[in-house]
Structures are given as structure tokens and as C-alpha cells.
Symmetry: C2
Subunit: 402 residues, 2 copies
């Protein structure tokens, strides 16, 4: 039987899963007893949750087009990158991602643990949930996945095959390059915004210092493969349940600058801050930003101290006679990540306010004027970040909270 | 018939070539009439030149070990990278490399045009041949190959599959990383030098500013895939005959910083300068350095002006409202290549004087004291480059001839 790609339905998901004993065992009993729900709500894929008497699974399949725009054709291979990302990350950051169960390279179907009872961190943020705990965990998650996929932590023989593999994820690289790092910074038909922001957008799109920063960021994104990134680490890619946190949706994974992952996460805290319902809530979110960065920094440096002999860069063998220099250079490396982070955060803030794919954080503000006021705060803050990089997290938060 | 790898001999080369009609046609007549000469003289491979009544070919085969050190085992795949490099480069810099004829992925045999009557540029330099003409041509060659394999000149969809392919050339990446960028900068058993240089070597290997530069260069080499590089562009990888120039031996090819290719070429001019037989010859070589860099710079910028719409970075679409900024940022990009070039040149000078694989330029100096004096000049110059980057080619040459 020649198998070929076809789009799954609530019925054919059942047939697909039946063919795999390990999945049948996990779900339990006969397939007629399973309940299947389609819960697709991202922009790109079909997602089904399947519940059996013994357990549940999550089934994700690439569509040959953008889910919300069938005219926008797209290759199917993105699920393959997500599967490979998942398998690598569950080794270096165990417990931080759903358990990988199966990848079918013909159907482009990824089956993984179903995160029962979890909600997106974005939704939780909107409902006033704790932001500090998850931010500390994500700081550690980014530190671990970055360190163990980068040359400070590994040899070139370990890293380069991964660089090679993920360099082929060009479809989603293109989306990020266009939607995050290009379109919002010039006049492009995919952009849209509240008319109250016309003036700020005009300023943003005609500022030479901002353009200079974007020229730099575009280069960093495409020609600085420091580590394996998630590539789309916004608050909708993080799932939370009480104290538990999981990172999902690694289809944008690529080798790139570590500050890109940090920046996307941070930006979405800033957006939540701008949309927050109270001053107290804003203070809580500002604390989460600080905790995220200081947690990342602490964990990355600590991994570096305990695994210094594992990597080719900053080698303690080659540079054994310069211990204090090595320490200073490690700090400088982290400072470089900080600089990248603040600028990528700015790009993400801008694109989520005036670009193609915006965020739901502001939806509760039914009055356009107030919504525009809140968005303006974030937009002006982002412009300032790009014009003039802050030197520390204290300065970053200080600018925000005035 | 299952084919498998076996090392070619003068006899079996004939049998190998007979199987390919296009090669038989090129050589002419029957294989008994061909003459086969083994001319292997690099460190890594077997090379045969085959002459028939109608024409000639060059046959290059990987050995499973370093040719000059059979204990140093090595994978065979390097010829595959050379073949792919050759096929790409002959499209973007036609006439600058030998014509590609055949690659056999089982035997790891590459067959190409035989460069009859050519000698290595290193040999020609030693014999007092013109250095300015070839340097101008190599400047243009590096500009063309770099521009058309990089994101200023091409889209990410065009570039990333190449980044992916060449990221697998880890065997030769490791050799460069160790022999050029690591070993010479600390106490390593592969290093060796004239005892007259003991003091300079001790200074070089205990200077914090030099170590800082090497930490930076190691990062640039492994995590800055700007363009497809030759990867070993010393004067033994350039062949000359009267005004003709060809670049050979692309087995070290990789995506990396453009300044690496520039730096290796420049370093070998500096070594020739240090070993030169007269003051007039030194002036000629200093002129060649200047011509190389200004030629590279001019050609790269000129390609950028005429092909600006082809690439994803520094886009004239995205940044159309900032023409003078774009021009300034292009200059800044070239300045970055210059900075990389001078530091990589320094590393190459050092490793050719105190590292594993040294150069023949100084062999004509039979007196050890004079040879050491000449080498000391180059070594001190290289240390200065690493401690304090020159701001221009005039400053670079000025320090040398100062």
C-alpha cells in the first residue's frame, strides 16, 4: 500500500492512531471508545485532542497552506522540524515540553502528550495568573536549551549536524524574517493598526536609528547561529497549569541568536504589561521580566561553570592561562545576548501591534481610545529600545515603569 | 558489481578513467597511450595528472588518512565538499577555477581540468614573479564568490540549503579550528619553531589582548556564516601561469566570515614579504596587499550596487526611504570584513611560523639566524595586529614597512 499525505479529519485521526500499538495502548480499549476533538487555533496547523479510557494524546498535522488563509500555500515539512526540536529539547530540558510519541513523515503528523488542564500562558496572563513563576522557569528553559545546543557547551562535531538540519527550515524562517523583522518597519499591505496610532507608526517607519537597528537585527537573525532556538517563544507557545509550565509549538525552530528567544518572551510580557488591568498587575509583570532575565543569566553562567570542558568556544584548555579573561569574556557573551534580546523584543512588540499577526491581550479593552493609548505606550517604548539600547534590565524596566 | 572505495594507483587511474566516455573523449585514443603521473604534494590527498593525445585531466582522491601521517585517520568526504564548492564557484566566478569534469561519490574521486604549465603562486612568489596582478584577480574572485553566496546578494531560500550542506564539512572545520585558531596560541605538542623565536612565542602565548582576539576569532569562524568560503586560501591554493590565475583545493570550503578568506590570502603575502630577497621586492609585495584589499572592496561594493535587489539583507525594498543609511551600512559591513581580515591574517601568520603546517617561503634562507630574524618580523607584526586592530589598509601596510 502506497501511503500518501491527506488532511486528517475527526474520523480519520482515529484510523491513523489505530495503526500504532503504542498509541492504542496509551489511549486504551477500542478506538470507538475514544473521543476526538479538533482544537486548531494557531495560524498554521490542524490539532486534535484524543481521549481514551486510559489516557490521551495530542495530534498535530501540517496543512499545505496557512490554516487561516488557504491562498497562502506552504510546504508541509514544518512538522518535521517541530518533531526534531521536541526530541532534542526533551533531552536537554526534560519535563519542559510535551512527551514526544510519534512522527509520521508521510502524513506530516506529530503525536505527543496531551497537556490536559493546561491553558496558554497568554490566557493565564489575561486572567491575572502568576507571571513570575513561569518566567523563572522559561528563563531556565532557554538557558538549558541554548547552552546545550551551542558551542560554549558542545563541540563543533556535535553542533554542526544540527545547524545543517535546521538550516532547511526556510519556510518558517521566511515568515519570521518578513512578519517580525521586515514588514512592520516599512509600508506593507500586511500591516494594520488602530488609526489612533497613525502618527506613531509614521514616526517608527521613518526613523533612521530604528532602521539601522533593524538592518543589524536582520543580520543577527540569519547569520548568527549561536544555538537551537524555539523561534516563536511568545506567551501562546507556553502552556501553564498551576505551577506547571510546558513549551509547545517548536515548528519555527532554527539555529540563531539566543537573544531572539529571550526577546520574544520578554516582548510578550511587555505587551501583557501594557494591557494590564491595574498598576499592581503591572508591577507584577515588571517583576516577571526581571526574574526572567536574571534567571536566564544565572542558569546559563552556572551551566557554563559546571560544563566548561564540553565546548569548543571559550575553551578552558586553550585559554587555561587566562582564567579571569575567560570569565570576563563569558560575561561579555551574556551582555551580547542581552543587547540582542532588547532589540528583538522591540521588533516583536512592534509587529504584534501593527503587523499581520497581532495579540489578544488588548481585546478586553473595548474602548478604542484606551486600547490605542495602551498600545501607544508599548509602541513608543519599543521605538526607544531600538533607537537606544538599554544597558541593563533595571534600565529596561525603569523605562517602562517610568 | 558492487563498487567500493579503493586507493588509486598509477595503473588503476587508467582503468577508472576508461569507464567514462566524456573523459576518454577528452584524453583521446586508447588508454594505453595515456601517460599518468602522480604529483601528490599537499597534506591530504592523492593527485594524478593524466595526459592523452587530445588533452589532459587532473584526478584527485581522498585518502582515509592524512597523506603525510598515516596514523592521523580522516573521513573520505572532503572531496565531495571540494566538488560541490567547485561546481558553485565556477558559476559565480567563471574562469577562476579548473573546469569540473566528474565526481565519483563511491571512490571519492574528483576529476577536473589539468592546469598545464601553471605553478603555485607560492613558488612564483619565491621566484620573484608579479604579485600585483594575481592579487587584483584574487580580490575580485573573493568578492564574487562571497557576494553571490551571501544574503546581501541572495535570498535566504537560495542560501540556506548551501549553509546546510557545507555545515557537514566538520572534519576540515576541525583542522582549521585547531591548527589555525587554537594550537599556536597555547602550549601544544604540534607546535614547533626555531629556538631563536622562543622569547617571541612566549610573549605571544601569554598576552591577554591576543587571547581576547582569538576568543573572538574562534566565535567568528564557527558562528558567522556570511558566505561560502574557500577556507584555505593561501598562496599554495592559487595557481599562476603568465597572467592566468586559478584557485584550487576547495576541500576546506565552509560557510563562514568573508574576512577569513581575505585574511588567509593577505597573511601569505605578508609571509612572502618577510621572506623577500630585496627591499624592492618588499615594496612590490606591499603594493600587492593594498591592491588585493582595494580590489576586493571595490568589486564587492560594485556587485552590491548592481545586484542590490537580489538579496534579503540590506534590502532596498524594506529600507527604500533610507538610501544614505543603506550606503553607510554597506560600508560598515565592509569595515567588519576588514577587521576580521586583519585578525585572521594574524592568526595565519602565527600558525605558519610556529604551528604544525609551516610554509616554504623562508627555505632559501639557509642561515638560521637570518631566517629567525625574518620570521620574527612577521611574528611581531601579527601580534601587534591581534593586540590592536589597524583602521585601514594604509595603516596595515604602514606598520609592516614602517
Amino acid at each position: 500500500m502506497v501511503r500518501h499525505y491527506e488532511t486528517l479529519t475527526v474520523e480519520s485521526v482515529r484510523v491513523f492512531l489505530e495503526q500504532h500499538d503504542t498509541l492504542v495502548n496509551r489511549l486504551g480499549s477500542r478506538s470507538e471508545t475514544w473521543t476526538v476533538r479538533e482544537v486548531s487555533d494557531g495560524n498554521l496547523n490542524l490539532v486534535f485532542l484524543v481521549q481514551g479510557p486510559e489516557g490521551s494524546v495530542c495530534v498535530k498535522q501540517s496543512l499545505p497552506h496557512v490554516r487561516v488563509d488557504p491562498q497562502w500555500r506552504m510546504p508541509l515539512d514544518r512538522t518535521a522540524f517541530e518533531a526534531e526540536w521536541l526530541r532534542r529539547v526533551e533531552l536537554t530540558a526534560p519535563g519542559c515540553v510535551p512527551v514526544f510519541l510519534l512522527f509520521d513523515p508521510v502524513m506530516f503528523v506529530l503525536v505527543m502528550e496531551c497537556l490536559e488542564g493546561f491553558v496558554t500562558f497568554r490566557q493565564a496572563l489575561g486572567e491575572g495568573a502568576d507571571a513570575v513563576g513561569p518566567s523563572r522557569m522559561i528563563g531556565g528553559f532557554v538557558a538549558r536549551t541554548a547552552f546545550f545546543s551551542s558551542l560554549p557547551g558542545r563541540t563543533l562535531e556535535e553542533i554542526m549536524p544540527n545547524v545543517s538540519f535546521f538550516a532547511n527550515n526556510t519556510t518558517l524562517m521566511r515568515i519570521t524574517f518578513d512578519l517580525v523583522l521586515s514588514d512592520p518597519f516599512y509600508s506593507h499591505h500586511r500591516n494594520h493598526w488602530l488609526k489612533e496610532l497613525d502618527q506613531e507608526v509614521a514616526v517608527l517607519q521613518s526613523d533612521e536609528a530604528i532602521a539601522r537597528a533593524m538592518i543589524r537585527l536582520q543580520q543577527r537573525f540569519l547569520t548568527c547561529p549561536q544555538a537551537l532556538l524555539h523561534g516563536d517563544l511568545h506567551s501562546g507557545s507556553v502552556m501553564v497549569r498551576n505551577g506547571d509550565v510546558r513549551v509547545i509549538d517548536g515548528e519555527f525552530s532554527l539555529y540563531g541568536p539566543i537573544g531572539f528567544d529571550c526577546g520574544l518572551y520578554l516582548a510578550n510580557l511587555v505587551l501583557a504589561w501594557a494591557a494590564a488591568r491595574s498598576g499592581g498587575r503591572r508591577a507584577h509583570l515588571a517583576e516577571a521580566m526581571d526574574v526572567f532575565w536574571s534567571g536566564f543569566r544565572k542558569d546559563f553562567l552556572s551551566l557554563w561553570q559546571t560544563h566548561a570542558s564540553g565546548g569548543d568556544l571559550f575553551s578552558e584548555v586553550t585559554f587555561s592561562v587566562y582564567p579571569s579573561l575567560l570569565e570576563a569574556e563569558r560575561e561579555r557573551y551574556i551582555d551580547g545576548i542581552f543587547h540582542d534580546m532588547t532589540e528583538f523584543a522591540a521588533a516583536e512588540i512592534v509587529r504584534r501591534l501593527i503587523g499581520y499577526a497581532q495579540v489578544a491581550d488588548f481585546d478586553w479593552l473595548t474602548g478604542t481610545v484606551e486600547r490605542a493609548d495602551r498600545q501607544r505606550e508599548a509602541l513608543v517604548f519599543a521605538g526607544h529600545l531600538l533607537r537606544e539600547a538599554p544597558g541593563s534590565m533595571a534600565e529596561f524596566v525603569g523605562r517602562l515603569t517610568g
